[in-house]
Protein backbone atom coordinates (compact mmCIF):
# COMPACT_ATOMS: atom_id res chain seq x y z
CA UNK A 1 0.00 0.00 0.00
CA UNK A 2 1.40 3.37 -0.93
CA UNK A 3 2.03 5.95 1.75
CA UNK A 4 -0.43 8.34 0.18
CA UNK A 5 -3.35 5.93 0.19
CA UNK A 6 -2.54 4.98 3.76
CA UNK A 7 -2.47 8.60 4.92
CA UNK A 8 -5.68 9.30 3.07
CA UNK A 9 -7.41 6.40 4.79
CA UNK A 10 -6.18 7.54 8.19
CA UNK A 11 -7.32 11.11 7.55
CA UNK A 12 -10.76 10.00 6.44
CA UNK A 13 -11.06 7.84 9.53
CA UNK A 14 -10.10 10.70 11.79
CA UNK A 15 -12.54 13.07 10.07
CA UNK A 16 -15.47 10.65 10.32
CA UNK A 17 -14.70 9.85 13.93
CA UNK A 18 -14.42 13.56 14.68
CA UNK A 19 -17.77 14.27 13.08
CA UNK A 20 -19.50 11.51 15.03
CA UNK A 21 -17.91 12.56 18.30
CA UNK A 22 -18.91 16.19 17.69
CA UNK A 23 -22.50 15.12 16.96
CA UNK A 24 -22.62 13.12 20.16
CA UNK A 25 -21.27 16.12 22.02
CA UNK A 26 -23.98 18.34 20.52
CA UNK A 27 -26.68 15.93 21.68
CA UNK A 28 -25.38 15.94 25.23
CA UNK A 29 -24.40 19.59 25.13
CA UNK A 30 -27.85 20.79 24.10
CA UNK A 31 -29.41 19.10 27.12
CA UNK A 32 -26.77 20.60 29.39
CA UNK A 33 -27.35 24.03 27.83
CA UNK A 34 -31.13 23.79 28.26
CA UNK A 35 -30.80 22.71 31.88
CA UNK A 36 -28.21 25.40 32.60
CA UNK A 37 -30.16 28.12 30.82
CA UNK A 38 -33.46 27.29 32.49
CA UNK A 39 -31.74 27.00 35.85
CA UNK A 40 -29.93 30.32 35.47
CA UNK A 41 -33.07 32.14 34.37
CA UNK A 42 -35.50 30.42 36.69
CA UNK A 43 -33.58 30.08 39.93
CA UNK A 44 -34.03 33.71 40.94
CA UNK A 45 -37.82 33.40 40.86
CA UNK A 46 -37.89 29.99 42.43
CA UNK A 47 -39.56 30.34 45.82
CA UNK A 48 -42.10 28.67 48.04
CA UNK A 49 -44.88 30.93 46.76
CA UNK A 50 -44.46 29.42 43.32
CA UNK A 51 -45.61 26.08 44.67
CA UNK A 52 -48.26 27.29 47.10
CA UNK A 53 -49.86 30.47 45.70
CA UNK A 54 -52.28 31.02 42.86
CA UNK A 55 -51.57 33.46 40.01
CA UNK A 56 -52.10 37.13 40.84
CA UNK A 57 -53.99 39.47 38.51
CA UNK A 58 -51.80 40.47 35.62
CA UNK A 59 -49.29 43.18 36.42
CA UNK A 60 -49.32 42.52 40.14
CA UNK A 61 -46.14 41.05 41.59
CA UNK A 62 -46.05 37.80 43.59
CA UNK A 63 -48.28 34.79 43.37
CA UNK A 64 -47.44 31.31 42.13
CA UNK A 65 -48.51 28.51 39.89
CA UNK A 66 -49.94 26.01 42.40
CA UNK A 67 -53.06 25.64 40.28
CA UNK A 68 -50.95 24.65 37.27
CA UNK A 69 -49.05 22.02 39.19
CA UNK A 70 -52.24 20.51 40.58
CA UNK A 71 -53.78 20.68 37.11
CA UNK A 72 -50.77 18.96 35.55
CA UNK A 73 -50.91 16.19 38.14
CA UNK A 74 -54.62 15.72 37.56
CA UNK A 75 -54.52 15.71 33.75
CA UNK A 76 -51.42 13.52 33.54
CA UNK A 77 -52.95 11.23 36.19
CA UNK A 78 -56.10 10.81 34.12
CA UNK A 79 -53.97 10.27 31.02
CA UNK A 80 -51.94 7.58 32.81
CA UNK A 81 -55.10 5.86 34.04
CA UNK A 82 -56.37 5.60 30.48
CA UNK A 83 -53.18 5.43 28.43
CA UNK A 84 -51.09 2.95 30.44
CA UNK A 85 -53.61 0.09 30.72
CA UNK A 86 -54.66 0.56 27.10
CA UNK A 87 -51.03 0.74 25.99
CA UNK A 88 -50.01 -2.36 27.95
CA UNK A 89 -53.06 -4.17 26.59
CA UNK A 90 -52.07 -3.28 23.05
CA UNK A 91 -48.50 -4.37 23.81
CA UNK A 92 -49.74 -7.71 25.13
CA UNK A 93 -51.83 -8.20 22.02
CA UNK A 94 -48.87 -7.37 19.77
CA UNK A 95 -46.42 -9.60 21.59
CA UNK A 96 -48.64 -12.56 22.52
CA UNK A 97 -51.54 -12.79 20.12
CA UNK A 98 -51.09 -10.87 16.87
CA UNK A 99 -49.77 -12.80 13.89
CA UNK A 100 -47.00 -11.34 11.75
CA UNK A 101 -49.32 -9.55 9.37
CA UNK A 102 -51.82 -8.09 11.81
CA UNK A 103 -48.94 -7.22 14.11
CA UNK A 104 -47.20 -5.24 11.39
CA UNK A 105 -50.38 -3.32 10.59
CA UNK A 106 -50.87 -2.41 14.25
CA UNK A 107 -47.20 -1.52 14.71
CA UNK A 108 -47.27 0.72 11.64
CA UNK A 109 -50.48 2.39 12.86
CA UNK A 110 -48.98 2.99 16.29
CA UNK A 111 -45.86 4.51 14.74
CA UNK A 112 -47.97 6.82 12.60
CA UNK A 113 -50.01 7.79 15.67
CA UNK A 114 -46.75 8.64 17.46
CA UNK A 115 -45.96 10.97 14.58
CA UNK A 116 -49.30 12.77 14.53
CA UNK A 117 -48.63 16.39 15.55
CA UNK A 118 -49.85 16.80 19.11
CA UNK A 119 -51.82 19.94 18.23
CA UNK A 120 -53.88 17.76 15.87
CA UNK A 121 -54.58 15.39 18.76
CA UNK A 122 -55.74 18.43 20.74
CA UNK A 123 -58.07 19.57 17.97
CA UNK A 124 -59.41 16.04 17.58
CA UNK A 125 -60.26 15.75 21.28
CA UNK A 126 -61.72 19.26 21.14
CA UNK A 127 -64.11 18.06 18.47
CA UNK A 128 -64.86 14.69 20.04
CA UNK A 129 -65.00 15.53 23.73
CA UNK A 130 -64.97 19.26 24.46
CA UNK A 131 -67.74 20.15 22.00
CA UNK A 132 -69.82 17.14 23.09
CA UNK A 133 -69.46 18.03 26.78
CA UNK A 134 -69.96 21.69 26.13
CA UNK A 135 -66.88 22.83 28.06
CA UNK A 136 -63.15 22.32 28.54
CA UNK A 137 -62.09 19.87 31.23
CA UNK A 138 -59.32 17.88 32.86
CA UNK A 139 -60.94 14.78 31.40
CA UNK A 140 -60.63 16.11 27.86
CA UNK A 141 -56.99 17.04 28.49
CA UNK A 142 -56.36 13.62 30.01
CA UNK A 143 -57.84 11.91 26.97
CA UNK A 144 -55.68 13.99 24.65
CA UNK A 145 -52.55 13.15 26.64
CA UNK A 146 -53.60 9.48 26.79
CA UNK A 147 -53.69 9.43 22.99
CA UNK A 148 -50.11 10.75 23.01
CA UNK A 149 -49.08 8.07 25.53
CA UNK A 150 -50.89 5.13 23.94
CA UNK A 151 -48.57 4.33 21.02
CA UNK A 152 -45.43 4.94 23.09
CA UNK A 153 -46.73 2.64 25.78
CA UNK A 154 -47.88 -0.01 23.32
CA UNK A 155 -44.55 -0.20 21.51
CA UNK A 156 -42.42 -0.15 24.65
CA UNK A 157 -44.51 -2.79 26.42
CA UNK A 158 -44.42 -4.99 23.34
CA UNK A 159 -40.62 -4.85 23.34
CA UNK A 160 -40.43 -5.55 27.06
CA UNK A 161 -42.87 -8.48 26.89
CA UNK A 162 -40.93 -9.96 23.99
CA UNK A 163 -37.81 -10.00 26.15
CA UNK A 164 -39.45 -12.58 28.42
CA UNK A 165 -37.93 -15.89 27.28
CA UNK A 166 -40.14 -18.37 25.45
CA UNK A 167 -39.21 -20.98 28.05
CA UNK A 168 -41.29 -19.06 30.60
CA UNK A 169 -44.37 -19.20 28.40
CA UNK A 170 -43.80 -22.88 27.74
CA UNK A 171 -43.30 -23.67 31.42
CA UNK A 172 -46.67 -22.12 32.24
CA UNK A 173 -48.56 -23.57 29.26
CA UNK A 174 -47.17 -27.05 29.95
CA UNK A 175 -48.69 -26.89 33.44
CA UNK A 176 -52.08 -26.53 31.82
CA UNK A 177 -52.30 -22.85 32.67
CA UNK A 178 -54.46 -20.91 30.25
CA UNK A 179 -53.01 -18.34 27.90
CA UNK A 180 -54.48 -15.26 29.61
CA UNK A 181 -53.48 -16.51 33.05
CA UNK A 182 -49.96 -17.16 31.79
CA UNK A 183 -49.77 -13.62 30.51
CA UNK A 184 -51.20 -12.12 33.68
CA UNK A 185 -49.33 -14.16 36.27
CA UNK A 186 -46.07 -15.12 34.58
CA UNK A 187 -45.20 -12.91 31.63
CA UNK A 188 -46.30 -9.50 32.90
CA UNK A 189 -44.59 -10.02 36.30
CA UNK A 190 -41.41 -11.07 34.52
CA UNK A 191 -41.53 -7.91 32.38
CA UNK A 192 -42.79 -5.61 35.12
CA UNK A 193 -39.63 -3.56 35.37
CA UNK A 194 -39.61 -2.74 31.70
CA UNK A 195 -43.32 -1.97 31.79
CA UNK A 196 -42.88 0.44 34.70
CA UNK A 197 -40.02 2.14 32.86
CA UNK A 198 -42.11 2.48 29.73
CA UNK A 199 -44.98 3.90 31.77
CA UNK A 200 -42.75 6.46 33.45
CA UNK A 201 -41.27 7.60 30.16
CA UNK A 202 -44.75 7.93 28.67
CA UNK A 203 -45.83 9.97 31.71
CA UNK A 204 -42.76 12.19 31.35
CA UNK A 205 -43.58 12.73 27.70
CA UNK A 206 -47.23 13.58 28.43
CA UNK A 207 -46.28 15.87 31.30
CA UNK A 208 -44.34 18.14 28.98
CA UNK A 209 -46.94 18.33 26.21
CA UNK A 210 -48.45 21.77 25.64
CA UNK A 211 -50.22 21.75 22.31
CA UNK A 212 -52.90 19.14 23.10
CA UNK A 213 -53.86 21.12 26.20
CA UNK A 214 -54.64 24.38 24.40
CA UNK A 215 -57.87 22.97 22.97
CA UNK A 216 -58.77 20.71 25.87
CA UNK A 217 -57.67 22.11 29.23
CA UNK A 218 -57.77 25.75 28.11
CA UNK A 219 -56.15 27.00 31.30
CA UNK A 220 -57.61 28.38 34.51
CA UNK A 221 -56.11 30.96 36.89
CA UNK A 222 -57.94 29.39 39.81
CA UNK A 223 -57.39 26.10 41.56
CA UNK A 224 -59.62 23.38 40.14
CA UNK A 225 -59.87 19.76 41.20
CA UNK A 226 -62.79 18.97 38.96
CA UNK A 227 -62.31 16.12 36.52
CA UNK A 228 -65.11 17.01 34.16
CA UNK A 229 -66.39 20.31 35.54
CA UNK A 230 -64.54 22.94 33.57
CA UNK A 231 -61.23 24.37 32.36
CA UNK A 232 -58.10 23.38 34.20
CA UNK A 233 -54.55 24.67 34.25
CA UNK A 234 -51.32 22.84 33.52
CA UNK A 235 -47.66 23.79 33.86
CA UNK A 236 -46.75 23.84 30.17
CA UNK A 237 -49.88 25.86 29.45
CA UNK A 238 -49.06 28.39 32.18
CA UNK A 239 -45.49 28.71 30.91
CA UNK A 240 -46.80 29.34 27.41
CA UNK A 241 -49.28 31.99 28.68
CA UNK A 242 -46.72 33.80 30.79
CA UNK A 243 -43.91 33.63 28.28
CA UNK A 244 -46.03 35.13 25.53
CA UNK A 245 -47.48 37.86 27.78
CA UNK A 246 -46.07 41.36 28.18
CA UNK A 247 -45.28 41.31 31.92
CA UNK A 248 -41.72 40.78 33.11
CA UNK A 249 -43.03 39.44 36.43
CA UNK A 250 -44.77 36.66 34.49
CA UNK A 251 -41.69 36.05 32.34
CA UNK A 252 -39.74 35.37 35.51
CA UNK A 253 -42.37 32.97 36.78
CA UNK A 254 -42.43 31.25 33.40
CA UNK A 255 -38.70 30.60 33.74
CA UNK A 256 -39.13 29.26 37.24
CA UNK A 257 -42.04 27.07 36.18
CA UNK A 258 -39.99 25.83 33.22
CA UNK A 259 -37.26 24.83 35.60
CA UNK A 260 -39.73 22.94 37.78
CA UNK A 261 -41.22 21.20 34.74
CA UNK A 262 -37.83 20.22 33.35
CA UNK A 263 -36.74 18.88 36.72
CA UNK A 264 -39.94 16.86 37.05
CA UNK A 265 -39.51 15.27 33.64
CA UNK A 266 -35.83 14.73 34.38
CA UNK A 267 -36.64 13.06 37.72
CA UNK A 268 -39.19 10.76 36.11
CA UNK A 269 -36.76 9.74 33.37
CA UNK A 270 -34.06 9.12 35.95
CA UNK A 271 -36.42 6.98 38.04
CA UNK A 272 -37.32 5.02 34.93
CA UNK A 273 -33.65 4.37 34.27
CA UNK A 274 -33.05 3.29 37.86
CA UNK A 275 -36.00 0.91 37.81
CA UNK A 276 -34.64 -0.74 34.69
CA UNK A 277 -31.03 -1.09 35.75
CA UNK A 278 -31.41 -1.79 39.45
CA UNK A 279 -30.16 -5.22 40.40
CA UNK A 280 -32.59 -7.68 41.84
Amino acid sequence: MSGFAYRRRKTTSTLVLGFCAASALVAVGVLALILGFVLAKGISSLNVDLFTKLPRPEGEPGGGVANSMVGSLLTVGIAALIGIPAGVGAGVFLSEYAGARLGNIIRFTADVLTGVPSIVVGVFVYGMVVLKMGHFSALAAGIALAIIMLPIMARSSEEMLKLVPRSQREAALALGITRWRTILSVIIPAARRGLVTGGLLAVARAGGETAPLIFTALGNPFLSLSVAGGPIDALPLRIYRYATGPYSEQHQQAWAASFVLVMMVFAISLTARLVLTRRR
Binding site: S167, R169, E170, A171, A174, L175, G176, R181, S185, V186
Partner: protein
Protein backbone atom coordinates in the same frame (compact mmCIF):
# COMPACT_ATOMS: atom_id res chain seq x y z
CA UNK B 1 -18.81 -50.21 23.28
CA UNK B 2 -20.38 -51.61 26.42
CA UNK B 3 -23.38 -50.07 28.08
CA UNK B 4 -24.09 -50.14 31.77
CA UNK B 5 -27.64 -51.45 32.09
CA UNK B 6 -30.11 -51.49 34.83
CA UNK B 7 -30.04 -54.87 36.48
CA UNK B 8 -33.17 -54.80 38.57
CA UNK B 9 -35.94 -57.15 37.54
CA UNK B 10 -36.29 -59.58 34.70
CA UNK B 11 -35.65 -58.71 31.12
CA UNK B 12 -38.55 -56.58 29.94
CA UNK B 13 -41.05 -58.09 27.60
CA UNK B 14 -42.41 -56.09 24.70
CA UNK B 15 -45.04 -53.52 25.63
CA UNK B 16 -48.53 -54.92 25.35
CA UNK B 17 -50.89 -52.77 23.39
CA UNK B 18 -53.71 -53.46 25.82
CA UNK B 19 -51.61 -52.15 28.69
CA UNK B 20 -50.61 -49.00 26.81
CA UNK B 21 -54.23 -48.42 25.79
CA UNK B 22 -55.67 -48.68 29.27
CA UNK B 23 -53.01 -47.00 31.39
CA UNK B 24 -50.30 -45.63 29.12
CA UNK B 25 -49.97 -43.82 25.83
CA UNK B 26 -50.52 -45.17 22.33
CA UNK B 27 -49.22 -43.21 19.35
CA UNK B 28 -50.64 -44.07 15.96
CA UNK B 29 -49.53 -42.72 12.60
CA UNK B 30 -48.38 -39.42 14.07
CA UNK B 31 -47.18 -36.77 11.64
CA UNK B 32 -46.00 -33.30 12.58
CA UNK B 33 -45.11 -30.23 10.58
CA UNK B 34 -43.52 -26.84 11.08
CA UNK B 35 -45.09 -24.83 8.28
CA UNK B 36 -44.46 -26.91 5.18
CA UNK B 37 -41.56 -28.84 6.72
CA UNK B 38 -42.51 -32.31 7.90
CA UNK B 39 -40.69 -33.02 11.14
CA UNK B 40 -42.30 -36.37 11.99
CA UNK B 41 -43.59 -39.09 9.69
CA UNK B 42 -45.89 -41.96 10.60
CA UNK B 43 -44.64 -42.51 14.11
CA UNK B 44 -46.14 -45.39 16.07
CA UNK B 45 -45.23 -45.99 19.68
CA UNK B 46 -46.55 -47.77 22.77
CA UNK B 47 -45.71 -46.13 26.07
CA UNK B 48 -45.99 -48.60 28.96
CA UNK B 49 -47.53 -47.30 32.18
CA UNK B 50 -45.24 -46.79 35.18
CA UNK B 51 -42.18 -47.42 33.07
CA UNK B 52 -39.55 -45.16 31.60
CA UNK B 53 -39.53 -44.93 27.83
CA UNK B 54 -36.48 -43.28 26.31
CA UNK B 55 -36.45 -41.69 22.89
CA UNK B 56 -32.97 -41.50 21.40
CA UNK B 57 -31.56 -40.46 18.07
CA UNK B 58 -29.23 -37.97 16.45
CA UNK B 59 -29.82 -34.21 16.66
CA UNK B 60 -32.71 -32.91 14.63
CA UNK B 61 -34.40 -36.29 14.22
CA UNK B 62 -37.65 -35.09 15.81
CA UNK B 63 -37.31 -36.48 19.35
CA UNK B 64 -38.42 -33.27 21.00
CA UNK B 65 -41.13 -32.69 18.44
CA UNK B 66 -42.48 -36.16 19.21
CA UNK B 67 -42.87 -35.66 22.95
CA UNK B 68 -44.18 -32.15 22.43
CA UNK B 69 -47.03 -33.83 20.58
CA UNK B 70 -47.84 -35.84 23.73
CA UNK B 71 -49.08 -32.75 25.57
CA UNK B 72 -50.00 -30.67 22.55
CA UNK B 73 -47.17 -28.24 23.14
CA UNK B 74 -46.02 -28.77 19.56
CA UNK B 75 -48.78 -26.56 18.24
CA UNK B 76 -47.68 -23.63 20.42
CA UNK B 77 -44.96 -22.82 17.87
CA UNK B 78 -46.30 -20.64 15.05
CA UNK B 79 -47.27 -22.64 11.98
CA UNK B 80 -46.87 -25.99 13.74
CA UNK B 81 -49.50 -28.72 13.33
CA UNK B 82 -49.88 -32.45 13.76
CA UNK B 83 -52.04 -35.28 12.49
CA UNK B 84 -52.64 -38.79 13.73
CA UNK B 85 -53.57 -40.15 17.12
CA UNK B 86 -52.10 -39.90 20.57
CA UNK B 87 -54.23 -41.97 22.92
CA UNK B 88 -53.85 -41.04 26.56
CA UNK B 89 -55.47 -43.88 28.52
CA UNK B 90 -57.35 -44.73 25.38
CA UNK B 91 -58.57 -41.19 24.76
CA UNK B 92 -57.32 -39.37 21.65
CA UNK B 93 -55.88 -36.01 22.69
CA UNK B 94 -56.07 -34.89 19.06
CA UNK B 95 -59.78 -35.67 18.79
CA UNK B 96 -61.73 -32.63 17.52
CA UNK B 97 -62.93 -30.43 20.35
CA UNK B 98 -60.24 -31.53 22.80
CA UNK B 99 -58.96 -28.60 24.83
CA UNK B 100 -55.13 -28.62 24.83
CA UNK B 101 -55.16 -26.87 28.21
CA UNK B 102 -56.90 -29.86 29.78
CA UNK B 103 -54.50 -32.27 28.06
CA UNK B 104 -51.53 -30.39 29.54
CA UNK B 105 -52.94 -30.73 33.04
CA UNK B 106 -52.81 -34.50 32.60
CA UNK B 107 -49.38 -34.62 30.97
CA UNK B 108 -46.57 -32.81 32.78
CA UNK B 109 -43.40 -31.65 31.10
CA UNK B 110 -39.85 -30.89 32.16
CA UNK B 111 -37.71 -28.94 29.73
CA UNK B 112 -34.12 -28.98 28.59
CA UNK B 113 -33.09 -25.92 30.53
CA UNK B 114 -34.49 -25.50 34.04
CA UNK B 115 -37.17 -22.83 33.73
CA UNK B 116 -38.54 -21.96 37.15
CA UNK B 117 -40.61 -18.78 37.26
CA UNK B 118 -38.00 -16.17 38.22
CA UNK B 119 -40.46 -13.82 39.87
CA UNK B 120 -41.78 -16.51 42.21
CA UNK B 121 -40.47 -18.10 45.39
CA UNK B 122 -39.62 -21.79 45.66
CA UNK B 123 -42.99 -22.47 47.27
CA UNK B 124 -44.92 -20.42 44.72
CA UNK B 125 -43.21 -22.19 41.84
CA UNK B 126 -44.42 -25.57 43.04
CA UNK B 127 -47.85 -24.16 43.87
CA UNK B 128 -48.12 -22.36 40.51
CA UNK B 129 -49.87 -25.20 38.68
CA UNK B 130 -52.59 -25.41 41.31
CA UNK B 131 -52.99 -21.70 41.90
CA UNK B 132 -52.89 -20.46 38.34
CA UNK B 133 -55.20 -23.21 37.16
CA UNK B 134 -57.77 -21.67 39.44
CA UNK B 135 -58.19 -24.80 41.53
CA UNK B 136 -59.68 -23.65 44.79
CA UNK B 137 -57.47 -25.25 47.36
CA UNK B 138 -57.15 -24.50 51.03
CA UNK B 139 -53.85 -23.13 52.20
CA UNK B 140 -53.17 -26.26 54.27
CA UNK B 141 -53.83 -28.47 51.25
CA UNK B 142 -51.53 -26.34 49.17
CA UNK B 143 -48.79 -26.61 51.78
CA UNK B 144 -49.22 -30.39 51.85
CA UNK B 145 -49.12 -30.66 48.07
CA UNK B 146 -46.00 -28.53 47.84
CA UNK B 147 -44.25 -30.62 50.48
CA UNK B 148 -45.29 -33.90 48.86
CA UNK B 149 -44.13 -32.70 45.43
CA UNK B 150 -40.80 -31.44 46.76
CA UNK B 151 -40.24 -34.76 48.55
CA UNK B 152 -41.09 -36.69 45.40
CA UNK B 153 -38.59 -34.54 43.54
CA UNK B 154 -35.94 -35.23 46.21
CA UNK B 155 -35.58 -31.53 46.88
CA UNK B 156 -37.44 -31.17 50.16
CA UNK B 157 -34.44 -31.50 52.46
CA UNK B 158 -32.53 -28.85 50.56
CA UNK B 159 -35.27 -26.21 50.50
CA UNK B 160 -37.54 -26.90 53.48
CA UNK B 161 -35.93 -24.05 55.45
CA UNK B 162 -36.28 -21.48 52.71
CA UNK B 163 -39.54 -21.93 50.80
CA UNK B 164 -39.94 -18.17 50.46
CA UNK B 165 -36.55 -17.61 48.79
CA UNK B 166 -36.56 -16.85 45.07
CA UNK B 167 -36.32 -19.97 42.93
CA UNK B 168 -33.48 -18.41 40.98
CA UNK B 169 -31.16 -18.76 43.99
CA UNK B 170 -31.07 -22.53 43.58
CA UNK B 171 -28.34 -24.32 41.63
CA UNK B 172 -29.05 -25.64 38.13
CA UNK B 173 -29.68 -29.19 39.33
CA UNK B 174 -31.91 -27.98 42.15
CA UNK B 175 -33.83 -25.77 39.73
CA UNK B 176 -34.43 -28.75 37.48
CA UNK B 177 -35.72 -30.80 40.42
CA UNK B 178 -37.90 -27.82 41.35
CA UNK B 179 -39.33 -27.93 37.83
CA UNK B 180 -40.01 -31.64 38.31
CA UNK B 181 -41.76 -30.88 41.62
CA UNK B 182 -43.76 -28.15 39.88
CA UNK B 183 -44.89 -30.63 37.23
CA UNK B 184 -45.74 -33.30 39.83
CA UNK B 185 -47.82 -30.93 41.95
CA UNK B 186 -50.72 -31.08 39.51
CA UNK B 187 -50.59 -34.90 39.67
CA UNK B 188 -50.10 -35.66 35.99
CA UNK B 189 -50.73 -39.07 34.49
CA UNK B 190 -47.63 -38.90 32.34
CA UNK B 191 -44.37 -37.01 32.84
CA UNK B 192 -42.48 -35.89 29.75
CA UNK B 193 -38.82 -34.99 30.07
CA UNK B 194 -37.12 -33.25 27.18
CA UNK B 195 -33.37 -33.77 27.66
CA UNK B 196 -33.75 -32.87 31.34
CA UNK B 197 -30.04 -33.26 32.11
CA UNK B 198 -28.44 -31.65 29.10
CA UNK B 199 -27.76 -28.41 31.01
CA UNK B 200 -26.56 -30.17 34.18
CA UNK B 201 -23.24 -31.44 35.52
CA UNK B 202 -22.66 -35.21 36.00
CA UNK B 203 -23.49 -35.21 39.72
CA UNK B 204 -26.77 -33.37 39.22
CA UNK B 205 -27.47 -35.65 36.26
CA UNK B 206 -27.08 -38.79 38.39
CA UNK B 207 -29.39 -37.31 40.99
CA UNK B 208 -32.09 -36.71 38.40
CA UNK B 209 -31.63 -40.22 37.03
CA UNK B 210 -32.06 -41.76 40.50
CA UNK B 211 -35.10 -39.59 40.92
CA UNK B 212 -36.56 -40.80 37.65
CA UNK B 213 -36.23 -44.43 38.75
CA UNK B 214 -37.97 -43.51 41.96
CA UNK B 215 -40.77 -41.70 40.12
CA UNK B 216 -41.28 -44.57 37.70
CA UNK B 217 -42.93 -46.49 40.54
CA UNK B 218 -45.90 -44.16 40.25
CA UNK B 219 -45.59 -42.30 36.99
CA UNK B 220 -45.40 -43.07 33.32
CA UNK B 221 -42.28 -41.30 32.10
CA UNK B 222 -41.10 -40.48 28.60
CA UNK B 223 -37.61 -39.04 28.34
CA UNK B 224 -35.87 -37.61 25.31
CA UNK B 225 -32.12 -37.84 25.55
CA UNK B 226 -29.16 -37.48 23.25
CA UNK B 227 -27.14 -39.37 25.80
CA UNK B 228 -27.25 -43.07 24.98
CA UNK B 229 -25.63 -44.08 28.25
CA UNK B 230 -28.42 -42.29 30.03
CA UNK B 231 -31.08 -44.11 28.02
CA UNK B 232 -29.36 -47.41 28.78
CA UNK B 233 -29.08 -46.59 32.50
CA UNK B 234 -32.57 -45.38 33.25
CA UNK B 235 -35.06 -46.60 30.70
CA UNK B 236 -37.14 -49.75 30.42
CA UNK B 237 -37.98 -49.20 26.78
CA UNK B 238 -36.12 -47.37 24.07
CA UNK B 239 -37.34 -45.90 20.83
CA UNK B 240 -34.75 -44.97 18.20
CA UNK B 241 -35.46 -42.19 15.76
CA UNK B 242 -33.65 -41.21 12.58
CA UNK B 243 -33.97 -38.58 9.95
CA UNK B 244 -35.17 -39.71 6.54
CA UNK B 245 -33.77 -38.32 3.29
CA UNK B 246 -36.14 -35.35 3.42
CA UNK B 247 -35.15 -34.69 7.08
CA UNK B 248 -38.48 -35.91 8.43
CA UNK B 249 -38.09 -37.87 11.68
CA UNK B 250 -39.05 -41.52 11.62
CA UNK B 251 -39.06 -44.19 14.28
CA UNK B 252 -36.82 -46.99 13.15
CA UNK B 253 -36.82 -49.27 16.15
CA UNK B 254 -38.61 -49.70 19.42
CA UNK B 255 -38.33 -52.32 22.12
CA UNK B 256 -37.05 -53.18 25.59
CA UNK B 257 -33.93 -51.14 26.28
CA UNK B 258 -31.77 -54.22 26.85
CA UNK B 259 -32.67 -55.62 23.45
CA UNK B 260 -32.12 -52.34 21.64
CA UNK B 261 -28.66 -51.95 23.13
CA UNK B 262 -27.57 -55.57 22.88
CA UNK B 263 -29.31 -56.97 19.82
CA UNK B 264 -30.41 -54.04 17.67
CA UNK B 265 -32.43 -55.31 14.74
CA UNK B 266 -31.90 -52.29 12.53
CA UNK B 267 -28.44 -51.64 11.08
CA UNK B 268 -28.85 -47.91 11.62
CA UNK B 269 -29.58 -48.43 15.31
CA UNK B 270 -26.44 -50.49 15.63
CA UNK B 271 -24.38 -47.85 13.87
CA UNK B 272 -25.85 -45.16 16.07
CA UNK B 273 -25.42 -46.85 19.43
CA UNK B 274 -21.91 -48.01 18.58
CA UNK B 275 -21.05 -44.40 17.89
CA UNK B 276 -20.48 -44.70 14.17
CA UNK B 277 -22.47 -41.52 13.60
CA UNK B 278 -24.81 -39.06 15.27
Amino acid sequence: MAYEMRVEGEAQAAVSEAEALSEGVVVRDLNAWYGSFQALRQVDLLVAPKRITAIIGPSGCGKSTLIRCFNRMHEVAPGARASGQVLLRGEDIYAPGTDPVLVRRRVGMVFQKPNPFPTMSIFDNVAAGLRLNGFLVRRSELVDTVERSLRQAALWDEVKDKPARPATELSGGQQQRLCIARALAVEPEVLLMDEPCSALDPVATLKIEDLMRELAREYTIVIVTHNMQQAARVSDYTAVMMMAEDRAGEMIEFGPTREIFTYPKDKRTEDYITGRFG
